[in-house]
Symmetry: C2
Subunit: 252 residues, 2 copies
DNA sequence: GCAACAGCCTGACGCAACGTCAGGCGCAAC
DNA sequence: GTTGCGCCTGACGTTGCGTCAGGCTGTTGC
């Protein structure tokens, strides 16, 4: 089995020009040429190209890749182990950057701004466990809140529209059940409450039944929440509150 | 508060030359110059540089970074959301590559080789959930085995030496207990068995007491295992087997 | 049997994103 | 006041390809 440049290029997701380049610099040479001078790559060449692309993807300059791969002391397993290690390091670095961006989002939402050192630390020589400890210390107590902040900060406009639509839907069905005279602790409103709980979990923060029950109390106890529901339909705040607490009792 | 090029370079983990370059192409210009012509960066410039570095780190060419950041319609939160999304995509891509390398390691250990398409698929336009499903299907049944393969394949030579030393230590203490005439179901050999179980869990695969008990049976039933232990000391296979099963009974 | 068209070839030049001197000024300290 | 570090501005070099240009190859359709 052999491949032409074009075939290999498509297979490996690079351009023909790249393969020409690698041939020219001796990094990946086709092990044969046809009588017409066409490059003909065999399976060992694929192997080699694959290794090259992994190392290149890890940011190695091509000449270093060459010395790595041409080292007679390094067997293939050695390369795989090294690549595995480097990839996992990169994984950690990337999640550190994700965490840093989330940190900035939260800071921005809270109206505070980070110190220059804080902002750039992710680019320096990064100690992930150190940061993790710090993050834990800072936000560990109010995990649900922090989670919500992170998720909502990362939401796109379309996400928000979907959340809004789902919310409207659930509240509309609550209002309909109330208008139909269904008791708040009947099966239907309780199912709606469960749907509401899962909606919260999906979009904002982990919301176990117990916490949801507390929220239910708040829907009448906190005047802002009460006003929100009362503006939809009079009596809805108490209705939703009762349904949510009944559902929490059923679940717990 | 303001910074010189050198200070900013150290802070951000880039070279002075890079900042010169960004100034020249208008990407990050110091908002002031001293009377002597020194660049003087203020906090807004830091902000800007930070954004540039994130986008650059994500692989954007500098001119695209410029158009992104100079877009008057894009507020800072928009940038953070985009960066967050891109970083998570990269996170997924990287873990896909980690998985691919692990797959290769396993294939290599099993003596089979992957098809060219399999090897390069991680570089193409990658569908992570598709791969995850495939991996699940392939190795889901024998999770312990696959885990072991993955872990051992990723071990360095030093790791192997440590494993060997730990194994020798435990087996030596088993042999000593046997030589001292301690019954196999006494406390000491059972504690050794428990140590052995945790050794397996640490280095190879999850080994709950029940599974460990099965292994204990195998140490006498399977002649290869038996021969391994008998070569250390006659009677050791049966001794270890009994101790391990006694420990499993104690735990279970 | 040949025309057309996709695919291959080899230069050769271009380009982005800096690295690396070279030559010279600024400034704080000893 | 000079020493040494840090800053300045060119200017050229380098890596890793992209992008033509000009020409050959090989398969398919008529």
């Amino acid at each position: 089995m052999s491949w032409t440049v074009g075939e290999l290029a498509r297979l490996a997701g690079v351009t023909v020009r790249t393969l020409h380049h690698y041939d020219r610099i001796g990094l990946v040479r086709p092990s044969e040429r046809t009588s017409a001078g066409y490059r003909s790559y065999d399976v060992r060449d694929l192997d080699r190209l694959h290794q090259v692309l992994v190392y290149r993807g890890l940011g190695f300059p091509l000449d270093e890749v060459a010395t790595l791969l041409d080292d007679p002391d390094a067997d293939p397993a050695e390369h795989l182990r090294r690549q595995h290690r480097l990839l996992r390091e990169r994984l950690e670095a990337t999640s550190a950057m994700v965490a840093a961006v989330e940190k900035e989002m939260e800071a921005r939402q809270m109206g505070i701004s980070l110190t220059p050192e804080e902002r750039f630390e992710v680019f320096g020589d990064w100690l992930p466990e150190e940061y993790a400890a710090e993050a834990e210390e800072k936000w560990g107590d109010t995990e649900a809140w922090a989670q919500s902040q992170r998720r909502t900060a990362a939401m796109s406009k379309e996400d928000w529209l979907r959340v809004k639509a789902e919310t409207d839907d659930i509240e509309g069905r609550f209002a309909a059940a109330l208008a139909a005279g269904t008791p708040a602790d009947a099966a239907e409103p309780m199912d709606l409450a469960e749907e509401h709980r899962q909606h919260i979990g999906r979009w904002f923060y982990d919301c176990p039944p117990q916490l949801h029950g507390c929220l239910g109390e708040m829907y009448v106890a906190d005047e802002r929440f009460a006003a929100y529901y009362e503006r939809i339909t009079p009596g809805l705040a108490q209705y939703v509150s009762t349904a949510v607490q009944a559902n929490a009792a059923r679940q717990g």
